[in-house]
């Protein structure tokens, strides 16, 4: 169907506006990072904000965030991969109920989980409060629904015939999973990993509620705002955080795309 020219142009403008709205916060950060004049549009440009950031402390906390992101991703993929496989490939009683149950963390606000875990800690293991493994576990839990759904979607669109072919060829189910299923659903697993990593590395609520002993970068930025208010330093810190995380995710995509060329085609 050929659209009338005016409608075509209107739709294009609409799409462009949406894109601008989506990317606007990032552009605003870029703009604010190169001026100390916090008005729009800025009247002059300056790089003094970059010199005012406490880079040592910033990168220390950034490293904590990346570690949380990494371990939470490893954990959540290890949990969700078998779960998604079971829900998508196996037929068993209660399959759809399990599928729905896994989505529960997405329904409750983060604070519900944070407080629930906090209550358990207060009752049974107060010494674990704020410990690094617990922060990882809590942040990972929060990403389970999205990760399961993403991997499940990838499995649903991968024809089971490849797995059947491998089985008849003589590969046992474990071998089939690692040699055939996993490479074929790699795009979905990597996307799920990227979601989990970004979500865990930038999660504010869970580490804050857990009283994380090791301070992640988002809490560092939050405390900075508490002390100094919104300054160009804030924009610079958020901008650098976004660039580092996006850079890592993008690198992962490039590396894995090369690794699983056929699956990405």
């Amino acid at each position: 169907m050929r659209l009338p020219r005016w409608l075509f142009v209107t739709l294009n403008i609409y799409a462009l506006m949406l894109a601008v709205i989506m990317i606007w916060p990032f552009l605003q950060m870029v703009l604010t990072s190169v001026t100390s004049d916090v008005v729009f549009p800025p009247r002059y440009f300056s790089l003094t904000g970059w010199a005012n950031v406490h880079w040592d402390s910033y990168f220390r906390t950034m490293l904590v965030s990346l570690r949380i992101g990494f371990w939470a991703t490893v954990l959540v993929i290890a949990i969700c991969l078998p779960a998604a496989y079971a829900i998508e490939r196996r037929r068993f009683r209660g399959r759809s109920a399990l599928g729905a149950l896994i989505f529960v963390p997405a329904i409750f606000p983060t604070i519900t989980y944070g407080i629930a875990i906090g209550v358990y800690l207060a009752l049974y293991a107060i010494e674990l409060k704020g410990s690094f493994p617990l922060v990882i576990l809590a942040t990972a839990t929060w990403t389970i629904p999205l990760v399961v759904r993403t991997i499940q979607g990838s499995l649903a669109t991968t024809d089971v015939v490849y797995e059947e072919a491998a089985l008849v060829m003589g590969a046992n189910p474990i071998h089939t999973f690692f040699r055939v299923t996993l490479p074929l659903i790699a795009p979905g697993v990597i996307t799920a990993g990227a979601i989990a990593f970004t979500s865990a590395a930038t999660n504010f609520t869970v580490p804050w509620l857990m009283g994380s002993v090791e301070k992640p970068v988002v809490i560092f930025i939050w405390e900075d705002i508490g002390k100094l208010g919104f300054t160009p330093q804030t924009a610079i810190q958020v901008l650098v955080m976004q660039i580092v995380i996006l850079g890592i995710v993008q690198t992962l995509f490039v590396v894995f795309r090369k690794q699983f060329r056929g699956a990405f085609a």
């Binding site: 015939v161 072919a165 008849v168 060829m169 071998h175 056929g262 699956a263």
Partner: protein, 378 residues
Amino acid sequence: MANVRIQDLVKRFDQVMAVNHVSVEIREGSLTAILGPSGCGKTTLLRCIAGLIMPDDGQIFIGEKEVTRLEPFKRKLGMVFQRPSMFPHMSAYDNIAWALRLRDWPKKEIPQRVAEMLRLVHLEGMEKRAARQLSGGQAQRVVIARALAPAPDLLLLDEPLSALDAKLRDELILEIAEIHRKTGCTTLLVTHDQGEAFTIADNVLLMNNGRIEQEGAPLDIYQNPRTLFSATFIGTNNFLPGIVEESGDEIVVSVKELGITFRTKTSWTQFERGTPVWVCVRADDIDIIDENRANNYRNVIKVDVDHASLTGGMVIIEGKLINQPLRIHVGGSQRFNLLDIAGKQIVCGLSHIALIPRENGDTSAIANPVSSLQQLPS
């Protein structure tokens, strides 16, 4: 290479009997086609043999070994599926080499064996290509090579050509026949296409409603259908309800409604006098002849032609035998002389007729003599 023996196999899906007490023996080195309409249970039967579906009852033997409950990866089979199944993340070489490694093929011999298999399926020089760099037919050839490479006991082909276009299908079916001749691997081909089955199989299992309706050589099944289903599913038939008048060396059947008798000496079984039968006349077994050549035929009929149409390779003539519709297929160069015979009467010699048991009083097929499952009594 091994023979396959299936004993009283049953597979149900809820209330549906997909495989209904099937017993059959497949000869070592043969190419057997499991032929039948969609939903007749042929793929389920094949998947039971592959181990991808566990049967509810019965036994499957490959060679002397019972494999009924054995996992698929322990069965030493090769399988080609209907849907494309060349692993997209591996090259053609890796697809075949992996199959060899899984069956513990000596490492040193793998490159040579892969090359040999690629040569067999006419894909020399394409070992580095991935599925996306090959056409549908080429990718399916890689899958055939992959299935055959470790010299399996049994090769299972589950409608391997149905996703391909007609021309490619015609080419590949002949290639499969050639590969079978070269390798001698016992092969089971599931297909709904009778042309495919008859072209390459040396044995055909005709399935309907989860049962094996008829088994035999393609020519035997074509010429001597034993049930109404066999006769209707294969080729185009005209059916006339008759009663056996004489039995013995020559069987004489009368069709009282038309006042005609038919004679045959080639019935697949003896029918007793008074048995109701369908006289089954294939559209291609009707020869248009000069009246003075009538003596050469055991059965001769006169048909009033209503219509003749050219379909390319043959002419379809629709006419009436007395008052009953009849269809005739004529091939060869003679067909071009028949396009203007509408309204004329032609003399026809029947080169072959088949007799099929009929329920007494069942004459409904006579109203629609041309083959069609929907039109015939079940």
